[in-house]
């Protein structure tokens, strides 16, 4: 079996959930090799974490030289690992998270290695015969179409969306291999000059959450009912573009075409009319619920369950009832 390279998404060695999803997918395709690019002191924790989800090998790349630069150096690291793996007939694929940086790393990597690229895969399965390219599933046109595709040239490079697979624990050998890449000067031209970590909300990350509770224009700027309901359900909080444009929530909360695209088990839209741009960001959610004063709101066309009513009354009452049931 040949190796599948998986780029580890982590914050100072704390591995993020999408990485486990990628490793789970990688196991379907071949032998997962995790690629950890980070500080030497953080490597041990990350190696232990990815081992639990099936990483047979972990390439550890010390990021001292490339820290503080935008995506280009990471693309060079992966390109060199692809070249190395090609010498022994691999790799089967390179999997990266479909984040802003992940997609751009993938874009540069595709050009560098002469490989086809598929972004925003919501599922990845092994090809029919051995040696066939993996088959990906994507949701396009605001979720109105499902497309399957495969890479036909080079090494399949696939940017995978969060929640594309349920992470499955599986012990891997986790053999550590230090890898020293050669980084060009050209790759070090875009610098991260300043970085202000976002304040931790204590809630799950929007794109990774199983439940998302979102508010729109109908909140009138008061997100307390939305946040209350979210906390009673252990959900992430999101916002429509109207709410973000009004300055009620920062852009990081925005769900829709130009914000985050979410695909949770449950999506609750509150005071959101459901314009096409918003639907593009949530239409693939498994169960959709809406609360809106306007019974004509287009969001009701999508719902599994809807309440025509004032969110400022319905949400607090529902929150109270949920909290009561939880005891």
């Amino acid at each position: 079996m040949s190796e599948v390279l998986v780029l580890v998404d982590h914050v100072d060695g704390a591995v993020r959930k999408p990485t486990y999803e990628l490793l789970t997918i990688a196991k379907r395709l071949g032998e997962p090799s995790a690629v950890f690019i980070g500080g030497a002191e953080a490597a041990d924790a990350a190696v232990e974490a990815v081992k639990k989800y099936g990483a047979e090998k972990v390439y550890v790349v010390d990021d001292t030289e490339i820290k503080g630069y935008l995506v280009a150096p990471k693309a060079e690291v992966l390109a060199q690992l692809v070249e190395q793996a090609r010498e022994s007939g691999g790799p089967v694929a390179v999997l990266v998270p479909a984040s802003v940086d992940g997609r751009e790393i993938a874009g540069r990597l595709a050009i560098k290695t002469g490989s086809g690229l598929i972004t925003d895969a919501t599922d990845v399965q092994a090809g029919e015969a051995d040696g066939d390219s993996p088959v990906t599933t994507q949701s396009v046109f605001a979720g109105n179409y499902t497309v399957t595709a495969k890479v036909t040239k080079g090494t399949p490079i696939i940017a995978v969306k969060p929640n594309a697979a349920a992470p499955e624990e599986a012990a891997g050998a986790g053999a550590v291999e230090q890898f020293a890449p050669t980084i060009s000067e050209a790759a070090k031209k875009a610098k991260i000059v300043a970085s202000q970590p976002r304040q931790a909300s204590g809630r799950p990350e929007l794109t990774e959450a199983a439940i998302v509770v979102a508010g729109g224009r109908g909140t009138g700027g008061n997100f307390d009912p939305v946040e209350g309901l979210a906390d009673s359900l252990g959900a992430a909080v999101g916002a429509s573009r109207a709410a973000v444009d009004s300055g009620w929530k920062p852009h990081a909360f925005q769900i829709g075409q130009t914000g985050k695209v979410v695909s949770p088990q449950l999506y609750i839209a509150n005071g959101i009319s459901g314009a096409i741009q918003h639907r593009a960001g949530m239409q693939t959610s498994k169960t959709i619920v809406a609360v809106n004063k306007d019974e004509e709101a287009p969001i009701f066309e999508l719902v599994d369950f809807g309440v025509v009513g004032d969110l400022h009354k319905v949400l607090p009452a529902a929150t109270e009832e949920i909290n009561k049931r939880k005891g």
Binding site: D120, N144, A186, K189, A190, S195, R198, L233, L315, I322
Partner: protein, 271 residues
């Protein structure tokens, strides 16, 4: 300073978009327009021009709008020219049909090099954050790779002094400031500033602006490198998602809505 702004002509996102039987996007059955998100790229380019020409700087800035696509794609260019771009370049060639992102980036890169030749080099390539059809958000990174330039992408605020550029962006976990020296590839989000509407004067002036139409041979890209046959990816199936069937909708009366909502969530085991 020479700015090239890339715009894409796409099927209207609010229309009923479909695929053709060969799994390519139906670009005829649906009205097309310049991708809404590219308007922000044009706006940013024009603002840069105005800042640099004004402020006593008096710098000469040329904004060239570039598009790739069949005949209809010229409509997208027209919008950019009406907004205020100085010139347009339309790359069109039957061989381009069915191109994937890599091939599209190659064509754009070829055209940018050629525009640069006549203008002493393109200093800035500006793109939108994504197209509203393919929405891969990878072309700016691919362009940067092909042109061997740094990329500063997803800018919500753009500042520059001479050739030094700084952008602010909302990253995954942090708000970041990214800096780089031109020439570079820049992409901007819909947070970067409301795009202007073409004025009547702009619409009239656009008719006199130069638009060049180039084929692949003009930009030194081999026809064998582009199009459906040369694509590095293949769509194997497209299927319309079954429309969501509308579920139960109740009207809240004296708290009945909240009770029904909780019952529904409990029935689905969310509580």
């Amino acid at each position: 300073m020479n700015i090239v702004v890339c715009v894409k002509h796409v099927p209207d996102a609010t229309a009923d978009r479909q695929f053709e039987s060969d799994n390519t996007v139906d670009r005829d059955g649906v009205p097309g327009l310049m991708s809404e998100l590219d308007e922000y790229a044009v706006e940013q380019s024009l603002q840069l021009k105005e800042k640099r020409a004004g402020d006593g700087g008096g710098e000469e800035v040329t904004v060239t709008a570039l598009t790739v696509g069949p005949e209809g794609a010229a409509e997208g260019l027209k919008k950019a020219l009406q907004m205020g771009a100085d010139a347009g370049v339309h790359v069109t060639d039957a061989a381009i049909a069915g191109s994937d992102a890599v091939a599209t980036a190659k064509v754009l890169a070829g055209a940018i090099r050629k525009i640069g030749q006549s203008q002493g080099g393109a200093d800035l390539v500006v793109c939108g954050m994504a197209s509203t059809d393919g929405a891969m958000s990878v072309v700016p990174a691919m362009l940067a790779e092909l042109l061997d330039l740094p990329q500063v992408t997803f800018g919500s605020v753009v500042e520059s002094q001479g050739n030094e550029f700084r952008i602010k962006r909302d990253g995954e976990n942090a708000t970041e400031v990214i800096g780089a020296t031109a020439p570079l590839v820049l992409s901007v989000t819909d947070q970067s500033g409301e795009a202007r509407y073409p004025s009547f004067k702009g619409i009239m002036a656009a008719k006199k602006k130069p638009v060049e139409t180039w084929g692949l041979s003009d930009i030194g890209v081999d026809a064998g490198e582009v199009g459906a046959d040369a694509a590095w990816t293949a769509v194997t199936s497209t299927e319309a998602r079954p429309p969501r069937s509308k579920g139960e909708v109740v009207t809240d009366e004296d708290g009945s809505g909240a009770t029904a909502l909780v019952e529904f969530l409990a029935s689905k085991k969310f509580i």
